[in-house]
């Protein structure tokens, strides 16, 4: 009831904050340039001759997000703490959870918007051939969920410090772990340990966004993958609330 109204108010304010600074525009332009460059130049979209976006377009997303999502999320709490507005926000008649969710949703919607703006690539592939749009939609959903997981991690690091640069660097490192856990060279390295270590390989790779994103790229909407991203988000937001409470308790 009331909770959603509060969350909506906060989300609206945060979205406004993105677009009243150059951050939003810089972010979107860079994201789109990267997508275009990697899809057509590095990913070899034309040379492949495939009516699909998975190996030319979505393949790069875990890596783009590695730098871009922490950049979008670093200010969420760090800025509030630096300017002192956190004292205003958390003494309003709202719960800390509502504030956390409201802020997270704003950034997530913003990332979703940036992702939607890649639609010319979708138009291109539809113009040139007849791809399975279900698979593409699935890829978009997966990509957005993955962005949400990165973003929630950035929320934690942003709540930890009042310095945005520190927040950015720490969350890049954490997100890098999420990627590398499923990165083929790392997996091979671990497999080199021998068969008795297979459980370790499984455990580590199950934390990887790449492993969980793969299904989406192929058009498989697996509930386990969805659950993985959602649980990373929930766990991270919960950690954020613990950190915020810790600060206030002194």
């Amino acid at each position: 009831m009331n909770a959603w109204a509060n969350i909506k108010t906060i989300t609206k304010r945060e979205l406004g904050a993105y677009f009243s600074s150059p951050l939003a525009y810089v972010f979107i332009v860079i994201f789109l340039l990267l997508c275009g460059f990697f899809t057509f130049m590095v990913g070899g979209f034309f040379e492949r001759g495939e009516a699909s976006l998975s190996s030319s377009f979505f393949l790069w997303h875990p890596w783009f997000y590695l730098f871009l999502v922490p950049a979008a999320g670093m200010r969420l709490w760090a800025e509030e703490r630096r300017v002192g507005t956190i004292e205003l926000l958390l003494t309003m008649p709202i719960t800390t959870w509502q504030a956390i969710v409201g802020k997270f949703l704003a950034s997530w919607l913003f990332l979703g918007l940036a992702l939607l703006l890649t639609f010319p690539i979708w138009l291109t592939v539809n113009y040139l051939g007849s791809p399975d749009n279900g698979i593409i939609l699935c890829g978009y959903i997966g990509s957005w969920l993955m962005a949400g997981a990165y973003l929630a991690v950035s929320c934690i690091t942003s709540a930890m410090t009042r310095n945005q640069v520190v927040s950015f660097i720490v969350s890049v490192v954490l997100c890098l772990f999420l990627i590398l856990a499923g990165f083929p060279p790392i997996i091979r390295l671990m497999e080199g340990l021998g068969h008795s270590w297979q459980w370790l390989v499984d455990a580590v790779t199950s934390f990887s966004v790449i492993t969980h994103f793969e299904g989406f790229q192929k058009g498989i909407l697996d509930s386990r993958d969805v659950l993985f991203f959602l649980s990373v988000i929930v766990f991270s937001l919960f950690s954020t609330s613990v950190i915020l409470r810790g600060h206030r308790a002194g």
Partner: protein, 319 residues
């Protein structure tokens, strides 16, 4: 409206606030005084629920701030220290946000915003980004935010800090006017504000309450309260001092200045003869002429110094 009981806050081994209790009723303006670092802001942060107390309770309008934070916070308007505001927003956008998060919508919201814009003189900067505002405007914007929902309880941390004298005057008027219907607690280290605005004042030092009373009562604590300042001609300082020393009402007489215009002395009464001192001195005037004679009311700054810096109390400012 506000009830603080045995409130304490420890940061590690440091006792920022150490077992303080007080209450504020509707219609009261409580001045919260103390040197920097005495625990004023920490106390206010606990009252508003920003930081949880280490011990003790705060209830606002009957709601415990820890058990029922949302209900309690609804009643509170809060101006934090340094008046933070979202610098990327316009003044109007910021007030809109504050109104919405307080549950105001539609016509009620519009009216609330109009009211605070008028009260805080924000008309001219309504569409300006907060980033570009001068400190005075920024301060008033944050102040406007705190009264937008017409709260029963106002917690103001240094509301006049950084304002120019005219703005200070306006804010004090505003606080006094609102104090008639609300319970207000505000911190300051400007003592004249206490006289201008407060119905009651609390002095806090190193986390403890060291004085609590009306400004009048606090002034009575001054060593100067009831002392008489006297300027006479036609007598030397030494002779005057000797004469005064013989009066039964006089505890001590200090010669402040001896010059052509006359001798100026400050005379401290024996405590039991309140009010009789000036007339007894007037009666004793023989062979010398009184140019000036008045009873001191006691001075808050001297009380403040003597309470919060006991070691240096005897070096009270000579003026």
């Amino acid at each position: 409206m506000i009830k603080v009981q045995n409130l304490a806050k420890f940061f590690g081994a440091k006792h920022a606030v150490d077992d303080i209790s007080f209450a504020i009723e509707r219609g009261e303006v409580l001045g919260f005084l103390g040197p920097n670092g005495a625990g004023k802001s920490t106390t206010m942060r606990m009252i508003t629920g920003f930081i949880p107390p280490s011990a003790g309770t705060v209830t606002v309008g009957g709601f415990d701030i820890v058990q029922h934070p949302i209900q309690a916070r609804r009643l509170i308007g809060y101006l934090p220290e340094n008046a933070p505001a979202y610098t990327d927003m316009t003044v109007l956008g910021f007030l809109n946000f504050a109104a919405e998060i307080r549950g105001l919508r539609g016509a009620g919201k519009k009216k609330a915003i109009e009211r605070v814009v008028e009260m805080c003189f924000l008309e001219a900067v309504l569409h300006q980004s907060i980033e570009t505002l001068s400190k005075g405007y920024r301060h008033r914007t944050c102040f406007a935010q705190s009264i937008i929902h017409d709260p029963d309880v106002l917690v103001l941390d240094e509301p006049t800090d950084g304002l120019d004298p005219n703005q200070k005057h306006e804010v004090r008027q505003l606080i006094r006017r609102m104090g008639e219907k609300k319970a207000i607690i505000f911190s300051t280290h400007i003592l004249e504000e206490v006289d201008a605005v407060c119905s009651r004042a609390i002095i806090i030092d190193r986390g403890k309450i060291v004085a609590n009373g009306t400004p009048q009562q606090l002034r009575q604590k001054s060593e100067w309260a009831g002392a008489v300042t006297l300027r006479v001609t036609g007598i030397t300082g030494a002779a005057l001092s000797q004469k005064l020393g013989q009066l039964p009402t006089v505890k001590r007489a200090a010669i402040l200045r001896e010059e052509a215009a006359g001798v100026t002395a400050r005379i401290f009464p024996r405590s039991e003869v309140n009010g009789l001192l000036a007339s007894s001195i007037a009666d004793a005037a023989q062979g010398w002429r009184i140019e000036e004679l008045h009873t001191e009311e006691g001075r808050l700054d001297e009380v403040f110094r003597s309470i919060t810096m006991p070691d240096t109390a005897d070096k009270a400012p000579a003026k």
